[in-house]
Amino acid sequence: MAIRDRLSGNEAVAIAMKQINPDVMGAFPITPSTEIPQYFSSYVADGLVDTEFVAVESEHSAMSTCIAAQAAGARAVTATSSCGMALMWELLYVASSYRLPITMALVNRALTGPININNDHSDSMGARDSGWIQIYSETNQEAYDNFLQAMPIGEHKDIRLPVMVCQDGFITSHAVENMDLLEDDKVRDFVGEYQPEHYLLQKDNTLAVGPYGISAYYMEFKKQQAEAMKSAKKVILEVAEAFEQVTGRKYGFFEEFMMEDAEVAVVLIGSSAGTGKAAVDALRQQGKKAGLIKIRVFRPFPMEELAEALSHVKAVAVMDKAESFSAAGGPLFAETRSALYDLPQRPNLINYVYGLGGRDITVTDFEEIYSQLDSIVETRQTGPVYRHIGQREADGAEKDVTYERYQMENNNWRWQSNGL
């Protein structure tokens, strides 16, 4: 029997960690992920876990600790956000290239500047090429479920890659929602023991990790990593299937919402997908054939599967909660458009960058986006491809949504200082 509870996203992940009982946690506080090591420290303090909690002096050392511990034969976890992960940057590459299946709870937050503590995906999107598996969550339930699936994926002998499990800062991390937890023993059975073939503290053998790799070898190691990432697709689905057996909850590379007969669709990542679904529900009631795809697994990118899922759609809006400053659209857009290239008949595609630094996105925004898609279908004119939504504009005529809500007389914004 599942345990019914109501938890914040941070608490949900902390509980997942407690149930897994990892060997080492290296962490340094940063908003909005701070609560995770805080909750976890209280489990350590109460003797509920066996974990060595290493309260390091920086995120850089947090990731260094995890890399070393995992190489030593331990299961290591961390939690961070934004600048914290940015400080780990170099080590993210070390972790994946050393093939160490560390698990990171990333609570997505905007990167500086200006300094901002609220949600967008600029932190993880910036790290998209670091060789980590990236799994995103819409809800607290998904943050919990994804965290439980991370280790069986990353630690699989054909994969051996670190996994970052992402959720949206504050929007889910600090919001209490209903959820179902698994019993501790079921979690332990599902996640299993960490049994690496080689590790530093092995009884009968030595291990040397982290050589200088001359050009004669470097490329071969990158090819190995690339192949591991490709193999991860299969394992991700196998683990999802095993998870469904235990929980009844179904996961894939992405979630298709009302896509079967959809003529227009939105593709996006994270908590905003829920808001988008509410818009789809409303539009469906008006008889409009709207659908939505929520990407769960961004690395590896489910290219063929996504193309298939969008093959029958006439117009698609890809929504990026991160800028890539390519002057040509955000990262999810670039990947999605590339995925669709091989289709014999491609939908028209537009890109919206939205929600940066905690800018809210509402059901009304989504309704506007779908109506833009409708007019693309009608006129067969794509219009501007690379768009932003939700920002104030000098020229009122340029607006495609109403902005009153961002100008609410809410003194919060004036008074709130930054806590980091």
Binding site: N118, T139, F170, I171, A175, E177, S271, S272, Q416
Partner: protein, 193 residues
Amino acid sequence: MGKSTVEIRWHGRGGQGAKTACLLLADVAFYSGKHVQGFPEYGPERMGAPITAYNRITDKRCTVHSNIYSPDYVIVVDETLLGSVDVTSGLKEEGAIIINSEKEPEELRSLLGGFKGQVCSIDARRISEETIGRNMPNTPMLAAAVKISKIVEQEQFIRDMESSLRHKFTTKPQVVSGNMEALRKSMEEVKVG
């Protein structure tokens, strides 16, 4: 029971516990079998700064993750915010605002820029001082919110709160009785105008 989706906005100051009250309300609704969301709006609060928190309470799971712009209820934990924050912004006319104040509802209405719906007042400061022994407006505000919004049935609310408090304060029964007294008193005393 009321409608299938109830949206509530809390206004308070950092350190007064508006966020805690918001989470408590989510708890109360959760125990009654509802789907809940309780979330504060961040920037991080600092002591004394105005903060906002939200509840979305529904019969079926609500997927929306945006803030609440047209709440059914607004709860103001600190009366002094009335001068600086547009607390009735977007508040539905058929909804209500509940304000922690010793003033009468009609007197408060004049400070609310023409809001036409229900205005309720509750002297949470006095009630908490009388029952709990210090100014802890959370508990009385929570009770008033439950009574006015009817998101859960009152008797069940009282039962749930009692068992939850007993669980939390096993070694401090006086805390439980004080809080329970605060809840009951608040439900009796909330003034609807």
